[in-house]
Amino acid sequence: MQLSREELLTAYQIMKTIRVFEDRVNSEMATGDIPGAVHLYAGQEASAAGICMLLDNRDQIASTHRGHGHCIAKGCDVPQMMAEIFGKENGLCLGKGGSMHIADLEKGMMGANGIVGGGPPMICGAALSAKLKNTKGVAVAFAGDGAFNQGTTQESLNLASIWKLPVIFAIEDNGFAEATSSEYASAGDIVNRSQAYNIPSEKVDGLNFFDVYSAAQTAINRARNGDGPSLLHIKTERYYGHFSGDADTYRSAEEKKIMRQDKDCLKIFRSKVLGSSLLEESQLNAIDQKVFKLVDHAVDFARGGNEPNPADLTRDVYLKYQD
């Protein structure tokens, strides 16, 4: 698997954008200007980047409540995303959805979903469309370790398997479903359970972009060739608590320190590309600067936007309802 310089720079940029974006949303939350709660993706960047870099606009993804990362990786507009999180009219969903329902169908992002396990069935549908229309498109269901146990996910594995749908189930296992560890909550092993549905499945190091990219490539090619679904069990780390108000006391301070230090997919990426002289430090630093500027601009864009007009409350419930 050879990635060009361009592609390596892109990979880094995607991951860095997600990290800076999520850290910034976290600090903006403290000002009290963001309504509701957010679920931050920081720490899991390599998963989103490694998979989404292999997708184009005919491919669909569905995300979880922790959807900012997938949204950025799929190419959604970052300032509009920030504005959506701030609940502004110039947001990606006109302020109607917020963090948990952030979406852009034009980019093939079928939305973050507030219901655990809400994505996989929808993705089976998108995959069915692609198959019937013969677009060679694929559909990726991002789900967490918690969602894997949900009935909807299990049913979707079954359906994708019997109908040979071009689906990639990307199970991002960060060890916790809200405050409950996956070790406790999940019977058996995710790969084993998935293989029981006759679905090719593999365990992936979610902290290593290259591992994710390679496994994703196999899975996506399999789907594009009409050979049906795959599952990637991606071990990763969730830096923040489950949501913005989570004190995260169920993880020890020590664990969290080690996580930030030694389990940082961005650091790991940097050391790999610099170590093998694939890229130069100055290039990466330049990207850092670019990303900080982008996110700054995004916040300005969001703060500068208007609150949606109450007159728009009832708009878009239906395409057409009553005369």
Partner: protein, 337 residues
């Protein structure tokens, strides 16, 4: 004009739309029946035979049997609809909505709104409903109030073959998610149904009968109960108008209020459970917007607050019938006529 059954009318609607638009696909449990078996394919054509014959005409890329996994395939209908298909999916009995209600009320209903109008979900979810066949508590409910309650869904309940075909064609052509409910005991009733394609719009009440003395408002199988009641009432010198709601969402409020004004007396007949039901909803609309029209309190003829019983004698006591309707009308007409 040819006389066809309710079932045939529905079958024609789906066939016409599948011929007209290659994006219309059908899937659900046993919609063909026999997939993977050694015997007849398309053995059932749906639990009630509504989709029979479609497999041989359109092939398994257009109509597919599913496993018993409502969450997955109703959710798949949502996803397919979002990405360019027009799925007509079904849950065999509306009572099964429990296992996939999230896909309906949190996904299908809300996707358009949450995404700022940048998504459409042109899907139809068909289901059989209704009591009277001794199918007992878990296979006899109406439940359309639950769907009606959810912004983002449209809810259609036809009462006769002509409307069934036109409403289903409209549902498939509609770009919003539509819940289409078919009373299990109406599949065999017959009526005049044109061979051609035609639509019946949503949000327009069917005026089944004109009458000056009282308005009977009803839906689905209960429309027939009202028609029988109106005959009895006529022989007593009381002329009842009959309104067939056809769709509970959108609801044709204007016609309801027009008839409230013209007759001054309202009796609503519905077989769904009474609490937070359609009868309650319409009563409140009339009480609020048509209060001055009323010459008598609004009456609701519904079951009591119980699950649907199994034994025929109990089921009969459960359901609204002609006698109860006539009695209520006579009571509110009193001596005034």
């Amino acid at each position: 004009m040819a006389v066809k059954s309710f079932r045939q009318a529905l079958n024609e609607a789906i066939r016409i739309e599948m011929q007209r638009d290659p994006n219309v696909i059908v899937f659900g449990e046993d919609v063909c029946g026999g997939t993977g078996g050694t015997g007849e394919q398309d053995a059932w054509g749906g639990a009630f035979g509504v989709t029979k014959g479609l497999l041989s005409e359109f092939g398994s890329d257009r109509i597919m049997d599913t496993p018993i996994t409502e969450s997955a395939f109703v959710g798949a209908a949502v996803g397919a609809a979002m990405t360019g298909m027009r799925p007509v999916t079904e849950i065999m009995f509306v009572d099964f909505l429990g296992v996939c209600f999230d896909q309906i009320f949190n996904q299908a209903a809300k996707v358009r709104y949450m995404f700022g109008g940048k998504a459409t979900v042109p899907m139809v979810l068909r289901a059989s409903y209704g009591a009277g066949a001794s199918s007992a508590s878990q296979h006899s409910q109406a439940l359309y109030p639950l769907f009606t309650h959810i912004p983002g869904l449209k809810v259609v309940v036809p009462s006769n073959p002509y409307d069934a075909k036109g409403l289903l064609i409209s549902a498939i052509r509609d770009d919003d998610p539509v819940i289409f409910l078919e009373h299990k005991m109406l599949y065999d009733i017959a009526g005049e149904v044109p061979d051609e394609a035609y639509t019946v719009p949503f949000g327009e009440i069917g005026i089944v009968r004109e009458g000056d003395d009282v308005t009977l408002i009803s839906i689905g199988k209960m429309v027939g109960v009202c028609q029988e009641a109106a005959k009895s009432l006529s022989s007593m010198g009381i002329e009842a108008a009959i309104l067939d709601l056809r769709t509970t969402s959108p609801l044709d409020e204007d016609t309801i209020l027009e008839f409230a004004e013209e007759t001054g007396r309202i009796v609503i007949v519905d077989e769904a459970y009474p609490r937070c039901g359609i009868a309650a909803d319409i009563s409140s609309i009339i009480a609020e917007k048509g209060f001055s029209s009323l010459k008598a309190p609004i009456r609701k003829i519904t079951p009591k607050h119980t699950p649907v019983p199994y034994a025929p004698s109990l089921e009969k006591a459960f359901l609204p019938d002609t006698e109860r309707v006539v009695k209520a009308v006579v009571e509110i007409v009193g001596d005034s006529l």
